[in-house]
Amino acid sequence: MSEQKDKSIHFLYLSQEDCIKAGALDMKETLKAVEESFILHGNDDFVQPPKPVIRWGGPETEETRGRIMSMPSYLGGNKNVAGIKWIPSMPDNPKKYGQPRANALIILSDPDNGFPLAVMDGTIVSAMRTGAATGVAAKYLANPDSEIIGLVGAGVQSRTQLLALNEVFKNRITLVKVFDLDEEKTERFTYEMGEELDLKIMPVKSAEDAIRSSDIFVTATMSTFSYVKGEWVKDGAFHSEISFWDTDPQELIHYDKLVVDDWYQVKHHGVDVTYRSTEKGLIKEENIKELGKIIIGKAEGRQNGKEKILFNPIGISMNDISEAYRIYSNAVAQGIGQQLTLWNSPYWI
């Protein structure tokens, strides 16, 4: 038995600004961290219970009044770290307070003694890892010579989606088409992302225009109704559906392959289109594959250039914790952040 003399426990606090200083906006590295978490997922080297939600009313109030979601996981392998992301999202914030809809805090914990390693902003991590999940999926599931990208929705999510796709298909993208119901948002997106990425970005008049003839397209909207038509989807296209209601389950019969990040989580949530398509008996459950299994070669990915493939991730805590751990490690190495004390000497009560 080892007797510890100093019983104090400290952890690192990282504000959003600290996270950015430690490389939170480096999409190339985010892609790596997220891919590593998918590999652990494929190897079943993780623990990830379903995510509980606090609401102010019924499920429908999540989109109106808001919610707080808890997302815990443990990553095995050489990461060996546990963590929880907590992410409140209040739709009225931008209008009422001029502040973001969502903010997140992440606690990273030592999986052996359970003590905190870090408490940190998770807002950037969340947005970056969502983009990176599509990026990693596209790396394995899109045609490698993909050139044309379509984006439906021009919000924060679409920004990181494009950052990730641009990183994966560097110098290959010839055109990005964007559609959003909010024209001003579309213009701002076109201008800002064009500046940032040196890409040809073009606003289009409809979701159909954004989707038709695109090699890769992403649906990331606040839509409450479905509008995507399977017949718009080009042969060989890769579609990443980030939001919930854009595509009707009926349309999934037009796709050759359906891929999710974690089928157990998707089923537990019970809202995503892939789940609803199996509920309705349109798609057989065994035909839905997990990305991690495809990456490690335990499930079949793209088999030919003509397949139409849908990726429908629910968003998993493992992606967050892997990415947060990357930033935390950078911060430790570079001396970024503030040391806080959990206790100097624990009170045993």
Binding site: M1, Q4, Q16, S70, P88, Q99, F115, Q338, L340, T341
Partner: protein, 346 residues
């Protein structure tokens, strides 16, 4: 709308929380009782309990509890989330506490955090306070013998809270697998002036006791308290869940009380298993808040034998942590940090 987009968060360490009342059992009892009332008045929302378990089915092993609560009462409006990792091997292998808890308090309107604080102390004390309130409302008021099975941190909170609400206690029977722990426990609480008896068997601690609390590491399948040990008219709080056999729960008791009946939906603990299996009628279980409110009764006569369950209501952590936070603001304690000075994207 303000131009200042900075979001500030106050960090409170364990020592600072203690300075602001985390060890104040009178406050803890007061707010646990209030939360039980708010629960039945519909002023509290909690999602299902969640545990990240390293070994599936090992409910008493290494784990992280993930909890959340929303309080909207006249006295306070606040949302909170809590993470409490626990490794029963910590005290043995590392000589460090088994658990540590961190709670985040949120403005319920914007969802922005305003405090992140230690919850280790409050979490333990509110558990003791919950059982003690169960005893206050469901045990025989002249109960004299208290039996404690397991003599760890959680039982310390139990004896302290119980000493404040059950004034007739004279004898405390202690049992722990490790006898030394029972002896240390008796020494630590000797100022309560009880007659402490260290027991050689669990049965001794349980069978003649008027009030029994079980707080052990027993896991599913290791239940050891049979119906024969349960004294008629006694009150038991099954804090660690897997101590009483199903038969003991069904036949040793005739009255049931718990602090949050919605928890009957949770898949894995004795009362939900028994009600789901149709062996126990959920209508037979009284909610503690209903008794406090005077709407329902649990004990009707001295011979009623009551099984009580507290399932760790996060709102009890939330209300107490909020009170501690308010005192910290008054005293100017804590370390202020930023969530952000200016948000990067929105």
């Amino acid at each position: 709308m303000s131009n200042n987009k900075e979001v500030k968060v106050l960090w409170l360490s364990q020592e600072e929380c203690i300075e602001c009342g985390a060890m104040d059992m009178d406050m803890i009892l007061e707010y646990v009782e209030k939360v039980n009332l708010w629960l039945v008045e519909g002023k509290v929302v909690e999602p299902e309990l969640l545990h990240l378990l390293w070994e599936p089915g090992e409910y008493s092993g290494r784990r992280i509890g993930v909890h959340a609560a929303l309080i909207r009462s006249e006295e306070m409006k606040v949302a909170a989330v809590k993470g409490i990792p626990s490794n029963p091997m910590n005290p043995i292998k590392r000589n460090t506490p088994r658990s540590n808890g961190i709670i985040i308090l949120y403005n319920e309107e914007t969802g922005y955090p305003f405090a992140v604080m230690d919850d280790t102390i409050v979490s333990a004390l509110r558990t003791g306070a919950s059982s003690a309130l169960g005893a206050k409302y469901c045990a025989n008021p002249d109960s004299e013998i208290l039996g404690l099975v397991g003599c760890g941190v959680i039982q310390g909170a139990h004896i302290e809270a119980t000493s404040k609400v059950m004034k007739k206690i004279k004898t405390v029977r202690l049992y722990d697998i490790n006898k030394e722990r029972a002896e240390q426990f008796a020494k630590k609480w000797e100022h309560l002036n009880y007659n402490f008896e260290i027991c050689n068997s669990v049965e001794e601690a349980v069978s003649d006791s008027d009030i029994v609390y079980t707080a052990t590491n027993a896991n599913v399948g290791e239940e050891y308290i049979p119906k024969e040990w349960i004294k008629k008219g006694s009150f038991h709080s099954g804090v660690s869940m897997w101590d009483h056999t199903h038969e003991a729960i069904l036949e040793g008791f005739n009255k049931y009380c718990m602090d949050y009946k919605l928890r009957l939906r949770d898949p894995k603990y004795p009362l939900s298993e028994l009600t789901k299996a149709g062996k126990l009628d959920p209508d037979q279980i009284v909610e503690l808040g209903q008794i406090i409110k005077g709407k329902e009764k649990c004990r009707e006569n001295v011979n009623d034998t009551v099984f009580f369950v507290t399932l760790g209501i996060c709102a009890t952590d939330t209300a107490n942590s909020y009170m501690i936070y308010k005192r910290a603001i008054e005293k100017g304690l804590g370390t202020e940090v930023n969530l952000w000075k200016e948000p990067a994207w929105y």
